[in-house]
Every structure is written in C-alpha cells, then in structure tokens.
Symmetry: C3
Subunit: 135 residues, 3 copies
C-alpha cells in the first residue's frame, strides 16, 4: 500500500481543476503495475469527479449548471455564507476509486480527473492511496 | 484480484438500466466468497448508481427528476450539445463499491445496480474488479 | 478484513445524522492501524456523505437546499409517493471510502460522516468493511 497527497492552488471561486497529471505522477512513483487507487478530498466545500477533459467548455458548463441548480441564497442559516458550496460538495462526492492497469490509470477516452473547487480560491489537498493487486 | 468488463446497449436517450444480473454473473464467475467489488464507468455522459429495482416507475421518476433539475439549455458553450448529460454524470458519480458475502452481492432488499444512460442510445462498457478478502 | 454493521434510528423525515462516532467505534474495535474503510448504505431512500460537522446549520441548510432542488411533486408515478427521496439518494450516493491512519479515520478538520435520511423516521443500517494495509 502506497499513500501520499498533493496540493493544488485554485484561482477562482468555482472551478473544475484537471488533476489527472498529479494523479498519474503518483501512480508512476508508486511503481504499481496493477491495483486500485483511492482519492480522498478532505475539504467540505470541494469535491472530486471524473468527466470530459478534452473541451474546457465542459468544465465551464458544469460550473454554470451547478450554480444554476444550487441556489446561492435560500434563507440559509450557516453564518459563513457558503452553504451552496456545502450542497455542491454533497452532490459531487468526496472520494474516487480508479483502476490501475499496466502501470497506468484505466480511464475512458475522454475522462480526466477533476478537483471541484466550490469556495475558492484556496490551497487544497488531495490524499491518495494505492492498493497493489495481490501477486 | 479478478477483473473484467461487460457491455450493455442502451435504447433511449436517458435511462436507468438494471445491470444487477451482469454484475452477479461476474461475481459468480470470480468464485470469490467474500470481498469487495468495484464498478467503474469509463464514459463522461453516463453514471452508476444503486436504487430501488422493484418498481420500474422509480427509474422513470428519477430520470424525470434529473431532467427537471438539470436544464437542457442554459447558454452552454460545449458544441456537442450534451452538457446536461455531463452535469448529470457529476451528480451521479462514475464508480460504485459493493460488498461480497457468501459468494453474493450484499445489497439491501430493494436495491439493484443501475447503469445511468444520459446521452444514448449507445453501446456502453462497465469495468469491474473484485478484491477477495485476505485468507 | 473486518466487517460489521450498526443501526441508527432517525427521528424526522429528512435529516443528516452524524455517524462519525459509530464509525470511529468500528475502527477502534477492528484494531487496524492503517487501511481503507468502506461504508455501505443498503437503503434506497437514504445516502452517505461527508461534510462539515462543526455548525449544525450546515446540515439544515443542506436539507433545505436538497428539498428545494428536488421537486416533491412532478407528476411522479411511483405509488409510494417518495420519488423525491429516491432522487436524493442518487444525488448523494450509497457508499463511502475513507482512509485509516495511525488507528484513526483520516478526515479533514471540519469533516464528519453523515447518514442522510430522506424518507424517515426509520431504523436504518450501515454496513462497513475495513481492509488493513498489507504488512
């Protein structure tokens, strides 16, 4: 079992940040040819997801959609004023499971891994753990 | 560790397709009596979920609800015109983790496993991996 | 591999119930110093999520937001009348993966684990499984 974390710095209030390169870097360093990788986001106003990475408009449309779906103001009581971000976190989820085959992430043709910032900009952390297949 | 995949062909633009039988088939073939099973969807306009399988109206109501929640048009920029499907994918998630006990999936009384098609009809793939409990 | 379950009794139709203490109890009893823990919800009108636990207003705001996002009535066909709860289950997800380090859950500063009741009050079950890191 290998484990570690990496940090990213988000630059806007809401953004889907492609972290596939950071994740692939961890896979290569772990020198695991086949296994399962878990990613965990320790923040409560951010999430992790897998979606299309080829066209940056998809990321923008997703943020646009979420901002439309989750009301910014709804008579929320949480004093920090970021309840919409907490709701987006529930909708997105805090962890991911991906497969490793032949030393690489098993992702679909268009899939990339994204850190979802819903209350930025901030410096954020992603924890990961790799479980190699039993020999 | 056993791994594999199966294909399904969806027949409508949006649908929840019960894939429990295909998943159970993989479990039986793996001959694992206890363990953890991971399912992974490699597509960016589809998801995986667990929900009620007894009444087909639940599946229809879920699609109806998602279609209401996620606007089809919102000044999206992605040229393919399927941004709503990408947003539904984020809301649903791309992977599942289920337990195997006594050679069978540990599911609740009403639970079935569904492939969520949001931009069909298409032929789709589901990857799976089974990790047997250490002896 | 350790496995088990615990029950909780919800007291209102919709609620986020902090189950971190129950989960930590399972971790301590398993005497695992490092590993991965999976939580699985066997119900189709409930979910599992990780979010802020410090301010109880966050939980209330999340329920308020979900109740706004998912229409209670939309010409649903499911005769039980709880289709909104089934949709919230899809949006939330049925399982969680968390890391165990030094005998404790690896959670962010503000994170707690919640059982999401969407059709209560009921007595509910959460299954868990702990996979210790290979020595």
């Amino acid at each position: 079992m290998s484990l570690g974390h990496f940090n990213i710095t988000t630059t806007t209030p809401r953004d889907l940040v492609d972290i596939t390169r950071e994740v692939e870097h961890a896979v290569r360093n772990a020198s695991v040819s086949a296994g399962v990788m878990y990613l965990f986001n320790p923040h409560t106003t951010a999430g992790l997801t897998i979606n299309e990475g080829a066209d940056p408009d998809v990321r923008r449309d997703i943020i646009k959609g979420l901002t439309h779906i989750v009301p910014e103001n709804l008579g929320y009581r949480h004093a920090e004023g970021n309840s919409a971000a907490h709701i987006m976190t529930l909708l997105t989820g805090s962890s991911l499971t991906v497969f490793i085959e032949k030393g690489k992430l098993l992702l679909g043709t268009w899939q990339k891994i994204f850190f979802c910032e819903y209350d930025g900009p901030r410096t954020r952390t992603v924890h990961w753990k790799i479980l190699a297949d039993p020999q």
